[in-house]
Symmetry: C2
Subunit: 403 residues, 2 copies
């Protein structure tokens, strides 16, 4: 039964955009329009800051064709932020909610955002203000617990796998080089692991995949690269921007200024590793750092990811109008040989600030590769990464050597 | 009249691959098959090294459907190299040519490769060995003289413009950041200039475009970024990996080991600039370095570029069978409002080791932007770079401030 709490809904984005965060937004807009008790739908400009500063767009007034186009665009159409909400901010949020009769709060973000959503809900309850708070998952890092995977991951993983395949084609064509391709990922190896999908034959790039779940010594990287290079005359390795060395350092890379949540990261880890390789192995090494392109590139959206992102937006609204609160939508993988997902709900509290890592059993013993179980997990989420065609390699018999 | 010199043709790739170098290869294979005097077509493995070491693939034996697929793939299907050919190597090349009755040499490369092709031809003439040598242009840098533009450039420029558009969407969505997007380009600004195509409205990213034709002071970068940031609360700048500072240095970036032709380049110039911005302006800056993806990304081929690359391969064969030698195929832009190109021929000697730079009049007086004349030049080559849609930005009136 629908509990007809009439009022305004607010949708906001938290943290970094994903290639499909706007698909969730489109899903929210479409679904809210179906529920008359949602009297208006506001989009907060720049995440929770838009709530605090009362910067709202009227999303019912947006043209449906435009919303549909925006659902396919990268970035966040609303804008987002990485603002650590203070006690005074929480009070202010409730004041704004009261002033606009906002009764539904749909927060589309990662674990920091789910913590914020949970605290907003707690304060509203404490103040006897009826509010329904639902989290919509979003992270290219795929590190939210309680869900099989996160909207945004499949597309970012598709991007990274295609990038490594293409860089690999360049190195295979012009060998005697080493490339370190740096992927995103705050602490978890889900994204860097996706480079496995670029490899079809055993000697295809990437030859080495390092997941940040395992600390890595410079000595291991050098020994691994040397062994690959000796065999194939080139090497492509993938590494996460958050990889730590065995002393907890960053291989000499520069640390960037921390964000609002005090997450600090190296800014040039791939370059630092390529310098190490050049220096110690005397090989021609370089690094590629697609960086933000890993979550912003418009051309690599996975259709499954896009559909699921939209569905999560729709389901969040459906749950809220049915009286649910303090939950985050999850994606559930149904058993069976063909991939099929449904949605579920989990407590915001369980997701807030928690991180899910790559299962240790998906990383090989040497810590320089990802196992086939990961491929089975990830391929339905990214879609097939098509291998590149190659010429038939039968050589013409030599003549000049007999001249 | 066709001069029916019967013999084997060799096609080889020199220097870095482009997204369409295999389209030229497909054009060569298709066209050679039409001329019975070309008794066999050999593909040299790894460029001129494949000739020296007699590593040849029989390209007539390759399946036509596979060749067609390969024509769409990035990398070089034959393999390439950056080998500085020695006097002994040139002798060896001629020995190999004689041993296989190779009478046609089609060399697909940039200015270093055209120099090699010219010297091979000179030596053959000196030794009274009848040989037809035709260059097929190829460079993402677009820096070959005598041609309106080079196969490979349109696609690499399309990649870079799309990358900057997408990174720009990320920063606009999550502002209070600066991103330095590093583009390829050995000395010329053609590629970094292409980021102009990502900008439709005056305040769209990229806000600053630096071309390596102009030395750049750290002070100017800092003043430029500060002015943009103050106005827009974020800034996206594009810079070439080969940008020099006003002291001839690289803003503190590391120099990489030189290649076979002694071209040396900074390995982390964008990162060095982002460090400067963080340090002096106290802004949150980062860098993206798609690096090799700029010439290897499979998904950004410009159809015009692809067609022209294939055509250059075909025309090279046609010229050779007609008795032409010591020429490189050029692309000629026909006058008129609609874009149309034809091909021409120029002397290899004029192209060998020469570089064409961005015309100074296409760079603004301040040296931090590219002018609209460049857009007219480049857009037909890249195809349209579609702008990303945006929500209507009309805000809901505030209420809570009156509570």
């Amino acid at each position: 039964m629908t509990d007809r709490l009439a009022g305004v809904a607010v949708v906001a984005h938290g943290g970094g955009p994903t290639p499909v965060i706007n698909a969730s937004l489109a899903g929210v807009i479409e679904e809210c329009r179906r529920h008359p008790q949602i009297t208006a739908l506001y989009g907060a400009r720049y995440g929770i800051l838009g709530v605090i500063e009362e910067q709202f767009l009227d999303l019912y007034r947006q043209d449906a064709a435009l919303v549909s186009l925006i659902g396919r665009a990268p970035g966040s159409a609303l804008g987002s932020c990485r603002h650590k909400v203070s006690a005074a901010d929480y009070e202010r949020i409730l004041t704004v909610f009261r002033a606009h009769n906002i009764r539904y709060f749909l927060y589309n973000g990662g674990n920091d955002s789910m913590d914020t959503a949970f605290r907003v809900s707690q304060l509203a309850r404490h103040c006897n203000y009826e509010l329904r708070v639902i989290g919509i998952p979003k992270t290219v890092d795929n590190d939210l617990p309680e869900t099989d995977h996160c909207p945004g991951y499949g597309s970012a993983a598709r991007y990274f796998a295609c990038a490594v395949r293409d860089v690999g084609a360049d190195l295979r064509a012009l060998p005697r080089r080493v490339s370190v391709v740096e992927g995103m990922g705050r602490n978890a190896g889900w994204l860097v692991a996706s480079s496995l999908l670029a490899r079809r034959e055993p000697d295809d790039p990437p030859h080495l995949i390092y997941c940040p779940e395992r600390p890595l010594s410079a000595d291991q990287v050098l020994a691994d690269v040397e062994a690959v290079y000796r065999r194939l005359h080139y090497a492509v390795l993938t590494v996460s921007e958050s990889q730590k060395d065995d002393k907890g350092g960053t291989f000499g890379a520069d640390l960037m200024a921390p964000d609002g949540f005090q997450h600090s990261m190296a800014g040039n880890l791939g370059h630092a590793l390529s310098n190490l390789i050049t220096k110690h192995l005397k090989l021609r090494a370089r690094s590629e750092k697609p960086g933000l392109l890993g979550r912003a590139a418009a051309g690599f959206v996975s259709e499954t990811d896009w559909e699921e992102a939209r569905l999560c937006g729709q389901v969040a609204v459906q749950a809220a109008v049915q009286g649910v609160t303090d939950k985050m939508v999850t994606l559930v993988r149904e058993p069976g040989p063909a991939y099929r997902s449904t949605t579920g709900l989990t407590d915001l509290e369980k997701v807030a600030n928690a991180e899910r890592h790559l299962p240790p059993e998906w990383i090989n013993a040497a810590g320089n590769d990802v196992l086939e179980a990961f491929r089975e997990y990830a391929t339905p989420l990214t879609g097939q990464i098509e291998p590149l065609p190659r010429l038939d390699q039968v050589l013409i018999p030599r003549r000049a050597f007999q001249v």
